[in-house]
């Protein structure tokens, strides 16, 4: 897991993480509630504005869009042809429907907008800081803990999985569609669970040895100033305003 976007420096990076998380949630919900393409266009401009404010390099931003791109391609291939409604283009046996295309445009815009919002507001902080800000926003300790531990140990568990799989391959294991392969994979998965749970208890012991009593402290000290609150109000109001505008116009 890389945190490259959090490594840059900008006014956005220095803003209070709690304010950023709240803003991200509000604007994303607002974007999800809108349907009108023009309104979504305004959202896109707002999102790009925020990405610009975070001074993220365009290449890194586009790279983050890649997984989404393949998902959107799948939708564009299936949806316009299978959705019922007024035909737009007829190509032999295939019919491109207008509502299908509109839906695709909608989904594409919304997902890109929300991703931009999160890249500008949330991806610009490290996972540790995100955990801390969720803590200050009174998200239950257990959930914050879960997020931080997942972040730290996912790589260890992945390494353990690869080690087990490699060991199996060195002893001549070739995955195939047969009971032996399924059983081997089941053993692998089982072993991973056993190891993960044993590791969890060791990690917890190590934490107790260093004075852990259920509370997380962090080094990052942010103090939300007037500017931060102004930013939160301004951006959230704009997003909410767009929802209201659309509801009134429709």
């Amino acid at each position: 897991m890389d945190e490259t976007l959090a490594q840059y420096d900008s006014w956005m990076h220095r803003m209070d993480p709690g304010v950023r998380v709240i803003t991200a949630v509000i604007v994303s919900f607002c974007a999800a509630l809108c349907h009108d393409v023009k309104i979504l266009g305004v959202h896109l401009i707002l999102a790009l504005l925020l990405v610009g404010m975070a001074k993220l390099p365009p290449r890194a931003v586009l790279k983050r869009l890649k997984p989404l791109f393949w998902f959107l391609v799948m939708i564009w291939v299936l949806m316009p042809f299978t959705y019922e409604g007024e035909p737009l283009v007829v190509m032999g046996p295939l019919t491109l429907t207008r509502p299908g295309v509109m839906l695709c445009v909608n989904i594409t815009l919304k997902s890109v907008i929300i991703l931009f919002y999160f890249m500008a507001l949330v991806a610009t902080m490290t996972v540790a800081t995100l955990g801390q800000s969720l803590h200050t926003l009174h998200v239950p300790d257990k959930m914050v803990f879960l997020l931080l531990m997942t972040y730290r140990y996912i790589a260890v568990i992945q390494a353990e999985y690869h080690r087990l799989l490699r060991a199996a391959k060195f002893r001549g294991f070739v995955p195939g569609t047969n009971i032996h392969s399924y059983r081997t994979y089941a053993y692998l998965a089982g072993m991973l669970f056993v190891r993960a749970s044993r590791r969890a208890s060791r990690v917890y012991d190590a934490m107790r040895c260093r004075g852990f009593n259920g509370k997380f402290h962090t080094l990052d000290t942010f103090s939300p100033g007037v500017v931060n609150h102004l930013f939160l109000t301004l951006v959230s109001m704009t997003a909410l305003g767009l929802v209201v505008t659309e509801t009134l116009l429709m």
């Binding site: 540790a128 972040y151 260890v156 060791r202 107790r208």
Partner: protein, 243 residues
Amino acid sequence: MTHDFPVIQLKNVSFTWPGAVEPTLDDVSLSVENTDRIGIMAPNGSGKTTLFHTIMGLCIPDAGTIEVLGKPMKTEKDFEQIRSRVGLLFQDADDQLFSPTVIDDVCFGPLNLGFSPKDALEQARDILDGLGILALENCITHKLSGGQKRLVALAAVMAMKPELLLLDEPTAGLDAGVKTTLVDSLLSLNIPYIVISHEFDFIFAVTHRIFSMEKGRILKDDEVHIHRHEHMHKLGKFPHKHV
């Protein structure tokens, strides 16, 4: 901080893992003085790690009494207070380093002790500098090499300013360079410590008393003793081992 009483006093401690037939610790008595630097060399499965975990209260003994830093340890609360004063270095550094970055991890202990972020940072940087790894400060913990992880884990323990150190195989899987750093930093400490290791040279360099363990019992140095003597034989100039 100096104490004129034994820093660890175990009396007739026994511990059996749930489901096991043989006890892992069998009527163990051990007294560690304030100036002690003890090495434990013993076969795998002889109960070394369990001994450490019992001292830290991670394993609750079936019988016997434990005193750490002059205080009797009976309940989890007693152990909780003592854990931040006794540093335990775990066998696997990955178990110990759970924070995303090195500095976060080294500061974890001091922050738990109630240090302000500024003081915690200062202390953590001091310790990292002392171990010669200040450059790793902002590295992601799970991307470090094995040797770096071990040193960072040691820094994390040292940052609590412990009055007593327990080191569980600190040299396992380390190259000669990191080992030298480890020896130097252990020798520069003025607190008592116990080291578990399988390496003669390392134990010889950093301790003055050596214990062994067998079937859950401790053998003191009147029973085992590391010693060196010169000898000669054919092909002696080639690296070799005596069995």
